[in-house]
Amino acid sequence: MKAQLFEIEHTTLYDYYAPVTVSYHLMRLTPRALSRQRRITHAIELDPAPATLNRRVDYFGNDTTFATVDRTHRQLRATSRSRVAISPAFIPDASETPSWENVRGLCRTDRTAPVLEAAEFTFASPAIPIAASFAQYAAPSFDRARPILEAVKDLTARIHHEFKFDPAATTVSTPLDEVLANRRGVCQDFAHLQIACLRALGLPARYVSGYLETQPPPGKAKLVGSDASHAWISFFCPGIGWIDVDPTNNLFPSMQHITVGWGRDYGDVSPMRGVILGTGRHTLKVAVDVTSLGRDGASS
């Protein structure tokens, strides 16, 4: 199957109430190069132009850009433009995957590089605590000896059905137990919740930040979360690797999801984090446009 070409434009606009003399930004706006995601072109543009712009790879392997704007400004626009080619994801047959207890046991004892790397994602992180309540919520999906893929798929469906997508219900800093209690939130909350469930059971799970195709192909429904940055999760399946799953849309991401990066939770991969030297507040506008350019000539 040939790869699908996408063009992504992600614009972030800060409007400051008072002039800002200096601002510092940490951006994770560069789609990650993966075996099934080829990065063809990519550029970040800042207006006003930055005095310093430095790109590096962070702890989790994500491309990160540090920038300083040191001219007085009232507005800052960051535009990230990328072109990527995506190949389909491989989703194994549930019966081929080990039982979830096996995965848990392996992550506690095995020290081979991929498992050790995965084990790092079994612990609490700043935005995701480990608590019995999450394990309890997850429990009905995790019958004894159930293959992990089947169990995660079931949990994903439950979150999708039992939680309401409601942008007014939460903010970036709403604690996770509140999300669980109120059964409402946005993609970020659902991703955090599912990660908390898996980690509470001792299973590795990471947070994935990325985009969705804005206008789906004819006949396909428009996905939730396509007008801004999207978030989903990835769980670890020994022998196969990491498998993505999107609780907001109840599916395995494949040809419509573009990965920017991953980490323990939102804090590790927030698209844009800034510190300004100035006195006022600000408003923020984000626009994401993901256009399909059809099939790539070269297969990936």
Binding site: A51, N54, F66, T68, L116, E120, V275, I276, T279, L284
Partner: protein, 832 residues
């Protein structure tokens, strides 16, 4: 004095209470209850002095500490308090042999921790090879992933390292905790030695403990060598989180001692992945940061976003090699108690040798066998969090049944988050209590410094005196009573034992580029508040005097006029038709003196002065600081049956102390930019107060007549007036003396000339336009006053004078504003 009797009292008490020494280690006496060999010289020397003299020395010790302003900022019931530093008269002595073994253990441990940090922030072989379990690192909130792989200065994560130790009943030293990040105490330790040298000169001469001066010299030199670009004259700053840090005294002390600039996060800026200090002349490159801000708070961009203490971009600058930060960012990781049980195997693995200095027995519950042990011995151990230093010591045996059960449950559910720890009875050392010595439990903190190649232990430490035999907190507190620690010299050591610690000198700025803008700002406000306080105190004192004299009913109109004047000055608030003006005025004016919450009352202003002075303390001489410490209305005088008499005593003392402060500042402060901003603040404030006073007198209309004397008294010009005019004051004479007389240091003209002078020597640097604007404002007001004077005050209608004074007030306001915009603007970062 009967010295024999006194001596016996000291000696027998020094022998330590008569308890069996099997329960604890007695630092002073051996099993046969005789002083240990290394204590004998001290014991003899103290015997010679006698209990009576020692009590006096102990008092002297307290007095010196108070005068030096040695304090520790502690939180009590949610409120910050500056707690006076308490130093015991009697030192803790450590023998040369014991020190030699401690020293080699400490150096080994420092090397070991440095290697562990290198590995965990680098290749993480220790985890991959299974030397330590993965959760020690990955579940540890002290592991800052942003710091992974960032360069470390001279190959050292650990440049300053402190260890808390206790001495077990069998005489072995055990590590209680490792302080690997920003260990506090070195400054206090140096100050302790300075004070004890003054208080017990005979004893220190006799014992000759090892000196710290070599350590101080090495530290200064090794930090200079860390400058990334190897500049000839590197700029080294000490980054503090400010006066609310418990160890702020020591930040000031060390900055002065080592000659570094003391900065807060706001003073620094990152540009082009390098770090700069914001000075009066613009940005000045920083080469080395000796930080006293915890890892998590150092950079709101890459570390904790809610921190306002750090410098945005600092991690990126460090990563780029633009600045050396010590201890390296991320080094708090090894403060986690969870590493203690793994130290022996880590030592064998990394150094190929046995660990010399053992840690207190600790079991990490994340392992099956260890968890089982902790559960089995639950009531004999203490339980603490695996990853964080600090918190209360939890003793399961002391918990109510329900809490104990809950803890046990948590232990199973989140086992890797807990460790069980053994408790050792603390050793005891003789401690001075009023008139005799008592044996008290102690914990020892020692310091290890990296000189770029080797680790060296500072020969001494701080011995913390504990309230009881058991620790109540998992982290040994910095506050509370402590002891100096004397290390006996080697027999063959012939270095100069008594080499004094250099006295920290106030930091001088040779150029404006060395004065951080924020410091200039604090100097400016120190000047303004000191002057405002003087004005309030003089006005209050005059009023109190009047109220004491004017008891007759006939003086009611004078009292009323005074009340009106003070109301116009916003000092009190009294309506003109109150029935008993005298009583009301008395109550109000005493409120100005005593009420804590009264804005711009005496206590409020004192608070503002102390706060501004505290922030520039490292640039003030110790005498100046001592005077500022004395500025405090005596609380005992607050109540009493003669409130006016007591008030007047307090006010007189304040006037004298304020005069001592301004005298000290005039005579002893180097005429650098710091002084200039202080004086600018003082002159602007005095001009404002004067303009307000004269305007209020004129506004009082018909009562003006009886207010000329108050005006002249308050502005300390009555004597001058009498000497000049040989008559009772008239209005034009008063105006001439207070407004235009250039030789009267209290006149408006005098203030304006000084402001003009300062404006001419302001550094232009990056702000040529701002300085020009400022100079323009000043000369405009001066010009106007000259014109006014030329007309002759007797020919000017009062309303014109009042208008002029209004313009002076507006002008002063705008000068102050321009100064702030041009020189002090340092806005707090905001995270989004």
């Amino acid at each position: 004095m009967n010295s024999t009797k006194d001596t016996r009292a000291v000696h027998s008490h020094l022998l330590g209470g008569g308890r069996s020494t099997k329960d604890f280690f007695d630092e002073f006496a051996s099993e046969n209850r005789q002083p240990r060999a290394h204590w004998r010289t001290l014991a003899e020397s103290l015997e010679h002095l006698g209990a009576h003299e020692l009590a006096a020395r102990s008092e002297n010790c307290r007095r010196i500490l108070r005068e030096h302003g040695v304090s520790c900022f502690v939180s009590q019931h949610g409120r910050g308090v500056d707690e006076p530093w308490r130093l015991d008269l009697l030192p803790l002595i450590i023998s040369a042999e014991e020190w030699a073994s401690l020293e080699s253990g400490l150096i080994q441990r420092a090397h070991l921790i440095n290697l562990i940090l290198h590995d965990l922030y680098g290749l993480q072989r220790l985890v991959r090879d299974g030397i330590i379990p993965a959760p020690l690192l990955y579940a540890n909130p002290g592991y800052h992933r942003a710091c992974q792989g960032i360069g470390v200065p001279a190959g050292g994560y650990l440049h300053t390292y402190a260890v808390d130790l206790c001495h077990s009943p069998d005489g072995h030293w055990w590590v209680l905790s490792d302080r690997t990040q920003i260990p506090p105490g070195i400054g206090f330790m140096l100050e302790n030695r300075t004070v004890i040298s003054r208080v017990l000169p005979e004893a220190i001469e006799a014992v000759r403990p090892r000196s710290f001066s070599e350590s101080v010299r090495l530290r200064r030199e090794s930090l200079r060598r860390l400058a990334p670009d190897r500049t000839e004259n590197p700029t080294i700053v000490l980054l503090t989180s400010g006066p609310r840090n418990e160890a702020y005294f020591e930040h000031v002390y060390l900055a002065r001692l080592l000659g570094f600039t003391l900065v807060e996060g706001d003073d620094l800026a990152v540009r082009d992945r390098k770090v700069f200090v914001k000075t009066l002349e613009g940005l000045h490159r920083v080469d080395v940061i000796l930080r006293r801000v915890a890892d998590a708070f150092c950079d709101p961009l890459e570390l904790r976003g809610d921190s306002l203490l750090g410098v945005p971009g600092l991690v990126e600058a460090t990563r780029a090699g633009g600045v050396a930060v010590i201890n390296a960012l991320g080094s708090s990781l090894l403060e986690s108690p969870v590493f203690l049980p793994f130290m022996p195997s880590l030592c064998r693995h990394l150094l190929g040798e046995e660990l010399k200095l053992p840690s207190i027995a600790t079991w990490w519950c994340g392992q099956g066998r260890e968890l089982a042990y902790v559960r089995k011995h639950f009531d004999e151990l203490t339980i603490r969090p695996s990853f964080t230093l600090g918190g209360t010591v939890v003793r399961p045996c002391e918990l109510p049944t329900a809490e104990r059960a809950a803890l046990l449950e948590q232990l199973s559910a989140r086992s890797h988050e807990f460790v069980g720890q053994e408790e050792l009875p603390l050793s005891r050392a003789p401690t001075w209590a009023e008139h005799h010595a008592e044996s008290r439990p102690v914990v020892l903190r020692v310091f290890v410094l990296f000189d770029g190649e080797n680790y060296r232990v500072m020969p001494g430490g701080i011995a913390r005196i504990m309230r009881n035999d058991k620790l109540s907190s998992t982290v040994v507190p910095l506050s509370g009573p402590c002891k100096d620690v004397w290390v006996m010299p080697d027999v063959d050591d012939s270095t100069a034992f008594l080499e004094a610690i250099p006295t920290p000198a106030p930091t001088l700025e040779r150029t404006a580029s060395e004065l951080p803008s924020r410091t200039a700002d604090h100097f400016f406000w120190l000047g303004r508040y000191a002057e405002r306080l003087e004005n309030v105190v003089r006005t209050t004192r005059f009023t109190v005097g009047r109220l004491s004299d004017d008891t007759g009913a006939g003086n009611q109109s004078r009292t009323k006029a005074l009340a009106e004047l003070l109301t116009r000055l916003d000092l009190v608030n009294l309506s003109s038709d109150i029935p008993h003006p005298r009583d009301a005025l008395q109550e109000e004016i005493l409120g100005v003196l005593h009420q804590e919450d009264r804005a711009y009352g005496v206590r409020d202003l004192l608070g503002r002065i102390h706060s501004a002075a505290f922030s520039v303390r490292y640039r003030l001489s110790s005498d100046t600081w001592r005077i500022l410490n004395r500025l405090e209305p005596d609380a005992r005088l607050k109540v009493g049956r003669l409130p006016l008499v007591y008030a007047s005593t307090t006010l007189n003392t304040l006037v004298l102390d304020l005069a001592a402060f301004s005298g000290m500042e005039m005579e002893n402060m180097t005429r650098g930019h710091g002084w200039m901003f202080l004086d600018l603040g003082r002159r602007i404030e005095r001009a404002v107060n004067l303009a307000k006073l004269v305007r209020a007198v004129l506004d009082c209309g018909e009562e003006t007549e009886c207010l000329r004397v108050p005006a002249l008294e308050i502005s300390d010009s009555m004597m001058t007036y009498r000497r000049r005019y040989f008559s009772d004051p008239n209005t034009s004479g008063m105006l001439e003396l207070l407004l235009s007389e250039p030789s009267n240091p209290r006149s408006l003209m005098f203030q304006l000339s000084r402001i003009e002078e300062h404006a001419l020597s302001l550094p232009e640097g990056a702000h040529r336009d701002g300085v020009a604007l400022l100079r323009g404002r000043v000369s405009q007001i001066v010009g106007e006053l000259r014109k006014f004077e030329a007309r002759g005050f007797e020919n000017v209608p009062p309303s014109d004078t009042a208008d002029f004074l209004e313009r002076v007030l507006i002008g002063m306001g705008s000068i102050s504003e321009v100064l702030t915009q041009v020189f002090f603007s340092h806005v707090t970062p905001q995270v989004n």
